[in-house]
């Protein structure tokens, strides 16, 4: 039943003092945590596994080393790979098919963060370019350190960001002009601006403090009823993409099972008895 979380490009640990919290670390500090294909495939596997692991209730995602959460796509590796390489055979329509499949697979890996049934908090620091934005907008909450350098970098390499930023950022941040600005100019923006527009929820003095804050929030969430927490994430994501009418209907169907949980009485009773409730695994 105990799952194996040994991966090549990521560290996954379970902090002893934070029950039910998983900490995922991008582990390629030497290259500023830049991503190549094997890495996003692994990322997809990790979050798919965490999603259904009953020992996990909240997840923190960080980058190893002091320099970067991730500098984004490892452009050199990418230019040797299939997406950006001109070596693919076939006419432009056939190349288009290969690109589309490749993009879809890449998108699916990053979407695993959003599809993960448990909340994911991203703690970012240093260079957080391109793919850093794609990944973070698929997460639930974004925190950062004061030294962070953000950029929707894709236009500067001649392409429209296609791994999620353009689809999710307008729904994460309620300032469409700002989204257009940073996506069209690719300019670097910092922690203060990110906080002001609501891209991040908190700014901390160092990487270490950011990670601590993320773990603390994760611990708090992990102490709640997992039935309530997972339902809340699911319904919020569903509602973002649907009419209010549809959102209410979906919520009613969802809760018709969820309200039958024992967690409600556990939570109520603990409230009355002023003690910490415990909840069955999920």
């Amino acid at each position: 039943m105990a799952q194996d979380y040994s991966f090549q490009h990521f560290n996954v640990h379970f902090p002893a003092d934070s029950p039910y919290v998983a900490h995922v670390e991008i582990n390629r500090a030497k290259k500023m945590n830049a991503f190549f294909e094997a890495m996003w495939l692994e990322l997809g596997q990790i979050f798919a596994r965490l999603s259904e692991d009953p020992a996990v209730r909240a997840i923190v995602l960080t980058g190893a080393g002091e320099k970067a959460f991730t500098a984004g796509l490892d452009v050199q590796a990418a230019s040797e790979g299939s997406i950006l390489s001109s070596g693919t055979e076939g006419d432009p329509a056939r190349k288009a098919t290969h690109i589309r499949r490749h993009v879809a697979e890449f998108q699916n890996c990053i979407s695993s963060v959003e599809k993960c049934e448990k909340p994911v908090i991203v703690a970012m620091h240093g260079f957080s370019f391109g793919l850093a934005i794609d990944i973070s907008v698929a997460a639930d909450v974004r925190l950062c350190s004061r030294d962070v350098k953000f950029a929707v970098k894709e236009v500067d390499i001649g392409l429209a960001a296609d791994i999620g930023t353009l689809s999710r950022l307008p729904k994460v941040v309620g300032n469409f002009g700002w989204v257009k600005d940073v996506a069209l100019t690719a300019r670097i923006f910092g922690a203060e601006e990110a906080l002001r527009v609501g891209f991040v929820s908190g700014v901390y003095d160092s990487k270490q403090e950011t990670v601590s804050a993320a773990l603390k929030m994760a611990s708090l969430i992990a102490s709640k009823s997992p039935v309530a927490v997972q339902g809340t994430k699911e319904i919020l994501n569903y509602s973002r993409d649907h009419t209010v009418q549809d959102g209410l209907r979906y919520t009613g169907v969802w809760n018709s099972a969820a309200l039958q949980t024992n967690d409600v009485s556990s939570a109520l009773l603990s409230g009355i008895q002023k003690r910490t409730p415990t909840f069955e695994k999920l």
Copy 2:
């Protein structure tokens, strides 16, 4: 023609100095205005009636007493009632049917605030937990006093908020990370934070000043053409849930009748003559 507005759990008055404004007050101060079933049924009736009352053009909603706008669901009453009680007969699928019906009816009552054709301004103070958020996001404008204590409290009693908060809050506030944060942690947040993220539009020093500000805004809106005001509310709510293309099309159809109002010439003429226009009832 004069409608009866005597209710058991709510006061509805029509301030003498604010023509066309209705003031609805939740009237269970002893229990911090906590809701039980009879109350939300009444709330639904009140707003359905106000919606079509030609003597009403704007509505203010407040809570009686100094302690709370509303502390939310009266958990004790609820635990004796059908939703959270384990006494319902039948297998889990049959229980699910009963819960779903019950949730739908509850949602409909709260949605009456959104469906009300006249704008609704909510003035909140003190404890404003759980259902307070569900109700306020169904309203048009939210104001609060400095002492307010907000919380999306539902995860703390083991359930996902299902009366509207999760469907509407992501569309009211353009900061999806903050919505996730407060909905997943159930933490209390205050007036300043609510103002910063755009959950409320104004913060005032006391309950009294908040209510005054709400009445003043309602009076201002009530002085405008009711054709223009009601059309504006309707089209804004429709547009929130549809594509821009659909929004434009719906607007054109709506205004094809609305522009035939006499209010346009009344408004234009009054503007030229520098006097206050009067408009027929609606």
Copy 3:
């Protein structure tokens, strides 16, 4: 091949020091740039032409004179024309048909700013009422001078804004309560408030500085790959109106052709060689 940009109510110039940037100026300063029908028809033509002109990569839109970006609809002209005039023949249903057709044509003209494949930055100053808001929310980025006076003025002339404000403003600004407030009260708001809620992205000390900032941002965007820039605008607008799932799928199809551009290697090579890339026309 060189297109003719002589228009009656607008100046279109191409600043010598800003390659690929078009500057469109509303040219009716004497009447505070108030719009009548011939003007919005011309606006539609200008942006349709700029949209496909390969010599243009970014556009700035401003208003002539010191007093106003535009005071909105020229109410006097409008009251003589077909929309607001009671002179139209036929019963209310037939009048409705004429109004609907007229509104649709008017909307199409303003939507040409959104449909324009090149990013549009609006620099606003002075009176920016009614139609000023409709036009600016169809643009990509909004800047303004400190002296600007904004108002969603339509309710004050007895009608619901129907040329785009009510459909687009809730998707531009993530503060639905604020949108309701300004649309229902028609109150004037200034630069600071506009910046705080994210309606504008920058505030400058004078009209001249605002226009300079807009031209600078346009120049920066115009220096990027037009394949990347136009794709980014298109996908962001598409995503605003669709689910994340649909947005990702559309992006994949779009980029299956766009990634085959030479601009990617130009951009990458220039990055390595530390020189400014040049891109083919589009």
Copy 4:
């Protein structure tokens, strides 16, 4: 617990030999079952009650007398009432508001047939004009006798059908050209044509045989698990209006509670033991 089903304009009986089946009959044979306002209000109440009555699992709807299922709107009554009367006060925009409210209330009454959680089978005979089509497309299955005369009659009285035909007929029948034909010409069509295009599922020799066939189908459905039957109706209606992706997701959430029913094992066991299963009420 036993509900009262005495109504003024409808007979509701529970055939002794068809357990769990309700038979609703429009009871105004003298006037060919033509509808006026009090009737559709009552229709709405009846189906709302049947929807949650655990003693009901399937419903048959028929019209009293030999001449007509219903000849549609009682035009004389309607012309004296608010929709079509020119007596309503106010300018065209205010009239529009009253009409819209009235239409919405009328639509809600007819939609109660669709919203009813139990399947509804309509057996039609004789004149089945206008409202007959609106009602029948809100039902689940349509049967008719050979003598039936159908017509989407509304254009012949100068209006577009607005109580549901135009919204539902294109989704009931997969022949959009035929829908346009009958809705634009208001021509009468008979049983054979209705069967050929799929508007009805069966044609019978007389009214009596049609009603018998409907009762037989209702009895068959009523003998199945109510958890399965009600879930099937709900998911089919939901899927009609949503993408396949959304349909699958909604189904999964619905069945997460519904599959926990005891009915599955009852059904399986009865199958093995070759006996008729019984199911708890719902």
Copy 5:
């Protein structure tokens, strides 16, 4: 007021015995009415004009000569033009931009048949390949002669039909397997099959009889209230693309103006007096 309907590639006449009916004929019989760019641009202009011409209430579209309604795209002309020619300059991404713009313009021309506010009946005979299907599914009703030869021909020239067939055919015909079959095999199908699946509504012995039947249906529709007819077309097209809930809401808003027409009383009165009603122009 009298509009000019002289066109180069189409004949537009107004049959003397069919008041309010326009007859549009594709006029390139020598080349089996095959289309090149100038023709679809003209088609778009014709239907845009007819849409708002108050002297027109229904339209019939046919092809000149005995051989074909239209054999589709004039492939030779097309291969010299911009879409299929390899002569376009630029990298594949730039070519893609040109293709996309070109396809969008082409689609808009054909969509003018759907957007036309008056019903359009297509009478097809002989070769009706490719573009014939695109055009006919944008119309409201399809009739054909016994000798017709239909084919969704596009896959046979190496492309997916992109001018409307693939978007509209699945919504015109309720047999998705058949749509896949004819679109994937490009096989020719005849009148009987077309009738059986509901692609056409009637089959006639000759071209002449088909055109007569179309004119007769158009005359019948043209004798009805234009307010009712145009509303019916609009609401049916809207409903095809939206949920039932949205369809009902849109219908209510539409009819809030349309029901104020004098046509209702004209129609009712004529019915009582057994005479043919006349209706004001629209």
Copy 6:
């Protein structure tokens, strides 16, 4: 490069006389091809692999043996497994989570038939119950033998069909009353009825002839340009779920790359030269 197609529960062969055609056979004839979990997982893998295999252009799916295409879910195996077993631990909300995950995984496996980029033709015979319908509606074309026995069997075992039938059948067949009928009664229907309502496209005298017809259709499709065929399947599925407007837009973006294929000139040239075109792999 050559892929391995050895599977435990399916035979996959490549008929020598049908280039580019794959034939997938459900291989559990002894148990009437009833499915258990390992089988649908394998089905998902097979279609995911075929989807991207350039040696495959069309697929035929059949069932081994004479008795059944598939009798559906292996109920015995299912009752021992997780979905229907009461052995799952936890309260109803926790069970619901497990069921939902399980259903989603099951749905994904069946959806692989729809997501497969190559057209899939299903040839059905004998018992084709439950899952047979779910699978076949995810395919593109359905054929059957005269002896086939179809049933949407799920309500007879106390559940709503949740693997795709209820979401897809209403979009495959344009007869919503018939869909309700067969889904609510679980009655068996035969080949003639299936043909009449458009559920199948062809009926053949024996299993062998059905499979031959399917292979012949697959061969025909496989002889066409794979760029055109795959684009056609994709756009048809997309259009089924979106507005016409969205469908046209998506088509334009798709074809902006696809029209750059060499297949267009190959196809055109072959047409002129009256020879069979060959197309590059995809």
